[in-house]
Amino acid sequence: MEARKTKTNSESDYTSIVHSPAFQTLLSEKKKFIIPTTIFFFCFYFALPILTSYSTILNHKFIGSITWAWVFAFLQFIMTWVLCMLYSKKAAKFDELANQVQEGGKD
């Protein structure tokens, strides 16, 4: 109920925030990072089942009896951890931009 009350008061505020340069910078920075990275990890992820289903290329040996399929599978883990850390780092920057939006809103 509280939320509903405040909403009517601040509807115009949200519009002005959306059109503020600080917010637009935040959005475009986020898009620049999140969209390509998301496309990348989906491609990387689906490459594994597609390759294992439609080719035998990953059945070749890497070292000893370990085949490329296992190497690629393990790389999925590395990819996940790396992108996870990368996101945290980028997000710290997004937080700063979000703070600027918030400060701009108070003026």
């Binding site: 109920m1 509280e2 405040t6 909403k7 601040s10 509807e11 949200y14 519009t15 925030i17 959306v18 917010f23 935040l26 959005l27 986020k30 999140i34 990275t37 998301t38 990890f41 989906f42 992820y45 689906f46 594994l48 089942p49 597609i50 294992t52 289903s53 439609y54 990953l58 059945n59 070292i63 000893g64 009896s65 370990i66 085949t67 399929a69 296992w70 599978a73 393990f74 999925q76 883990f77 990819m79 996940t80 951890w81 992108l83 996870c84 850390m85 996101y87 945290s88 997000a91 937080d95 979000a98 939006v101 918030q102 809103g105």
Partner: protein
């Protein structure tokens, strides 16, 4: 009766009940009940997410799947982990900023229509109950095997415990049971992995070399294609795995237990590390079971391979380790079912009762009381369904829950956050088509119909050729949301979307 196992099971019951007792003192209002007052730290919530997520299907199911089918079993581990990138990149922070107690809250931040909240809550209950049946069937089989207690009694024991945790301890008890379970599960799995690695002379190459001759599959054990021979079926499975997590209601509600988007983010990072390390270790569990227990003994204990991990513990460390690992599996099940009961009860009490029936006017006391009754109701329904589902394959039920979550919930979540034009009609179409197509395709799939008697529930030719519905039902959910939006004559509420955009990206206007 296995005495050490019995004592350790009692130990777990005792510890979790003490947690519940202390948690009950804190659980005074709706916010404490649903989200532990939003007061968990990133580290605590990360552990709780891991504890909520690594279910019996992960621990028992994947260990068995790798042991019996080699590489193909490992697909589950990969998909279950990479799924967290979808959660982290696309869902976690906006969800925390837009919602309060339930996933339906987030959708309702854009749309006031009560029926949207109703459908979102219905999806939550449906997915959680599917998931819960799988866990209860697994629990029943495990306890029956270990303690010799009948299946029905076993399911009832777990059912009563999960209800008690949630009714008295709400989200506080649920979170702490999940955190302790995550520690036990990681500890137990690490111990076994180290023992397995020692037996392979601490050499990865030795391990792979020995696996070539250790199973009846010989060299093909190490190659993909033992279980999943049809390309589109493999891709369908992987779609459900990687997209399902971001739509699983019991995972989504965990993000409301922290104070802000930043903490939600750090909890996903912690969870991703813990869950990733766990899934790497499933290789050791699976290989170890295949090599040191042997294919025939694993299949003899359970045709789906669900007892591979406990049997491996027995082969490596005798009865004590067997008892310990079994108790860990028991704790795993308890933590997950408690999370599921709480999530469905929140949907019933918060969405249906408070928001729809009482128009958001119920008092704190009424809300908590309703949530408690809803917990009892959800538990009773799940227990009854689980009693009838004894013969169903556990992994099948879980993958169904993932596919339904990906088809029915993910499209509406993504559109709500990211698509300006999305409207009420699109939201309803996305949820209804996603839910019905996912469940409908399973009903006509090879899981339910098989030409061979005894291999599935009914004898007959499956109309849908794939074992998981994701490849069709997930795109259908997205397409239905799109078409439902553009073919309705409602105008997009731009002001409302601007509010959602600002809130989800900055947290401005969010209390606590």
């Amino acid at each position: 009766m296995n005495t050490p196992a019995f004592i350790m099971f009692l130990g777990i019951v005792f510890v979790t009940l003490i947690i519940t007792y202390y948690a009950s003192k804190k659980t005074k209002n709706a916010s404490e009940f649903y989200t532990a007052g939003g007061g968990l730290t990133g580290w605590q919530n990360g552990m709780a997410i891991a504890g909520d997520y690594m279910s019996a299907a992960s621990f028992l199911g994947i260990a068995g799947a790798v042991a019996l089918t080699g590489f193909d079993g490992f697909f589950y581990s990969i998909g279950f982990l990479v799924a967290y990138l979808v959660v982290l990149y696309l869902v976690a922070e906006p969800l925390r900023n837009l919602g309060k107690y339930t996933f339906a809250d987030m959708i309702a931040s854009r749309f006031d229509a009560k029926k949207i909240r109703g459908f979102a809550a219905m999806n939550t209950v449906a997915i959680s109950i599917f998931y819960m049946i799988a866990q209860l069937v697994g629990a029943g089989a495990l306890i029956k095997l270990l303690l010799g207690i009948e299946y029905t009694t076993s399911v009832l024991i777990v059912g009563v415990l999960m209800t008690v945790y949630v009714i008295f301890g709400g989200m506080h008890a649920t979170s702490w049971v999940q955190i302790i379970k995550a520690i036990l599960l990681m500890g137990g799995t690490l111990l076994i992995s180290i023992m397995v690695f020692a037996k392979f002379n601490w050499s990865i190459t030795d391990m792979f070399a020995q696996m070539k001759t250790a199973t009846p599959l010989k060299e093909s054990f190490l190659n993909p294609g033992v279980k999943y021979k049809v390309g589109l079926d493999t891709i369908s499975l992987n779609m459900g795995l990687v997209l399902g997590t971001a739509g699983l209601p019991h995972i989504l509600v965990r993000f409301f237990t922290v104070k802000d988007a930043k903490t939600a983010r750090s909890s996903v990072v912690y969870a991703t590390w813990i869950i990733g390390i766990f899934y790497v270790m499933t290789i050791f569990l699976g290989f170890g079971a295949a090599a040191f227990v042997g294919n025939s003994d694993i299949v003899a204990a359970n045709p789906a391979g669900n007892m591979a991990a406990p049997l491996l513990a027995q082969a490596l460390g005798g009865n004590m380790l067997f008892a310990f690992i079994s108790a860990v599996a028991f704790a795993t099940i308890l933590a997950v079912v408690a999370g599921l009961v709480l999530t469905s009860a929140s949907a019933v009490a918060h969405d249906f009762y408070n928001e729809i029936l009482c128009k958001g006017q119920a008092t704190e006391k009424q809300q908590v009381n309703m949530a408690r009754w809803a917990s009892v109701g959800v538990s009773v329904v799940s227990i009854i369904l689980a009693l009838g589902a004894q013969t169903l394959n556990v992994a099948f039920l879980v993958s169904l829950a993932f596919a339904v979550a990906a088809s029915a919930n993910l499209p509406v979540i993504i559109y709500t956050i990211y698509w300006k034009r999305f409207n009420t009609s699109g939201a309803i179409w996305a949820m209804v088509v996603g839910l019905i197509s996912a469940i409908g395709l399973v009903i006509i799939s090879p899981n339910v119909f098989s030409p061979e008697a005894g291999k599935a529930i009914f004898v007959g030719n499956p109309i849908f050729p794939y074992t998981t519905p994701g490849i069709v039902s997930i795109p259908l959910g997205f397409i239905a949301g799109y078409l439902g939006t553009i073919f309705s004559n409602q105008k997009a509420d731009v002001k409302r979307y601007e509010e959602v955009l600002v809130k989800s990206n900055t947290g401005i206007g969010i209390k606590g």
